[in-house]
């Protein structure tokens, strides 16, 4: 068995798991709020955007909603929003101060590596390409998750305060579009979480232990 190496600092592990709880609460209460009017756009009007989750197509199961009814969902959502933003800020601040962003953020230099990783996953390449803390595809996914969080937070403020923060709302194309982007962010987050969890178990189960204990004893120790 490979020997354990330090992988995640306490601040990363704490913010990761807090974020998991807060994000789950935000999605659950958000779906509860969405149910009050399960369509995008103006009331009883056409607004041609793709929405597979439109209330006319499917009902969101009660089991994944949080709050019981609209006001209950609003109370959860507008309470959890703050710790969700704060843990996100704490994590990003840590990335900046510690310099960890270099190992995490996807940059132009990662493009060839991302191609090699894709080839490896598609079985076009037998050996796992050498990698640092995260491989280039992981970097692209984690960078994307940070961008996604920023989009969901900003579009959330844009639909909460479309008059006082109208500059933000118009940045998203107006209230109806801001609400749409807020929901696109939810679906994308849900897809990301599913892929994230699947990849942990399929590609590198030792990473689950690492994000809990901080120590990594899996196959992909850093080549740097």
């Amino acid at each position: 068995m490979p020997h354990a190496v330090p992988r995640h600092r306490p601040i990363v592990r704490i913010t990761h798991w807090l974020n998991a709880v807060f994000l789950a609460g935000m999605i659950g209460s958000g779906l509860q709020i969405y149910t009050a009017y399960g369509h995008i756009g103006f009331h009883d009007d056409t607004f041609n955007v793709p929405n597979p989750f439109d209330a006319s197509r499917m009902a969101i199961p009660q089991a994944v909603k949080l709050g019981g009814w609209l006001a209950g969902g609003l109370r959860w959502h507008f309470t959890l929003a703050w710790p969700f933003v704060l843990t996100g800020l704490a994590y990003v601040l840590f990335l900046v101060i510690s310099g960890e962003w270099r190992a995490l953020l996807f940059g132009p230099r990662d493009v060839p590596g991302a191609w090699q990783m894709t080839r490896y996953y598609l079985r076009l390449r037998k050996d796992h390409p050498p990698q640092g803390k995260h491989n280039p595809l992981q970097k692209s996914a984690y960078t994307f998750a940070i961008v996604l969080a920023m989009i969901s937070i900003l579009s959330g403020f844009a639909i909460a305060k479309p008059i006082q923060l109208s500059f933000l709302t118009s940045l998203f194309g107006g209230y109806e579009w801001a609400r749409y982007w807020h929901f696109v962010a939810v679906w994308t987050f849900t897809a990301f979480i599913m892929a994230h969890v699947v990849m942990v178990f399929v590609a590198d189960p030792a990473s689950l232990r690492a994000i809990i204990t901080g120590r990594y004893r899996g196959r992909h120790t850093s080549h740097e």
Binding site: G41, D45, K65, G67, G68, L74, R75, F78, I163, Q164
Partner: protein
């Protein structure tokens, strides 16, 4: 305990604990219970103050240059649509902490200077419509009744089975807040709050009292029909 058996024990724990996830999810009608409800109350109260602060600092106005979109649904809490038997006998009583309490007749209101705008309406449910509204700015009524300096809140009462709302004075005095008697270029219909309703593009729909009977300036923070049932009190946009 050896290293490997400790790992297996941990795996067993995860395996044993995993059914708890769907059980926890099934409880998701959860309102937070008696421990979290007070936390919600505190945070939501802070959100309300933040909304008031934002209004005080930015005091933005909604952009009125828009084209009508969507259908404005009719909404009231009474069993049937609230109407008055004799519209000419209806009065709007404006009083409370004011120097000149006044009962406004329909004729008095119709002679006051009106404003009109076509503007986005936001419902707490998430939908919006763009519709045009006409009425008398709230500030006009305030100027006539002369509120006293300690009037920090306004209570709006209706004849819709006790539906009412409490407002902060700054939102009421916003230049786009009006008592509306026209909708889509016509005298307002019973479906939308005739003979007179509160309207403002800076508040969510549930703050906009229809079927008005009374406006009371007060120094007490007044709740509201939906606000007392859990919707945010400030309801500002």
């Amino acid at each position: 305990m050896s290293e490997s058996s400790r790992i297996i024990a941990r795996r067993d724990f995860i395996r044993l604990a995993s059914p708890a996830v769907p059980i926890a999810l099934a409880a998701c009608g959860w309102d937070g219970g008696k421990h979290l409800q007070p936390v919600f109350d505190k945070v939501i109260a802070a959100n309300n103050s933040l909304g008031e602060g934002l209004l005080a600092v930015r005091h933005a106005e909604a952009n009125p240059a828009q084209i009508a979109r969507g259908q404005m649904p009719s909404y009231f809490v009474s069993e049937g649509m609230p109407t008055i038997a004799d519209p000419s006998a209806w009065r709007l009583e404006v009083g409370g902490l004011v120097r000149k309490p006044t009962a406004f007749t329909p004729e008095m209101i119709s002679t006051l200077p009106h404003i009109n705008y076509t503007i986005t309406h936001h419902c707490v449910e998430g939908w919006s419509v763009v519709k045009s509204w006409g009425g008398v700015p709230f500030t006009t009524f305030a100027a006539l009744v002369e509120p006293m300096p300690d009037a920090k809140y306004v209570q709006f009462d209706s004849f819709d089975s006790g539906y009412m709302n409490g407002w902060d004075i700054a939102s009421a005095m916003h230049p786009q807040t009006m008592l509306a008697d026209a909708f889509e270029g016509k005298p307002i219909a019973a479906a939308h709050g005739a003979p007179l309703r509160l309207y403002s593009p800076i508040k969510l729909g549930y703050k906009l009292t229809k079927y008005l009977t009374k406006v009371t300036f007060t120094d007490k923070k007044i709740g509201g029909y939906w606000e007392d049932r859990g919707y945010p009190w400030f309801g500002g946009l």
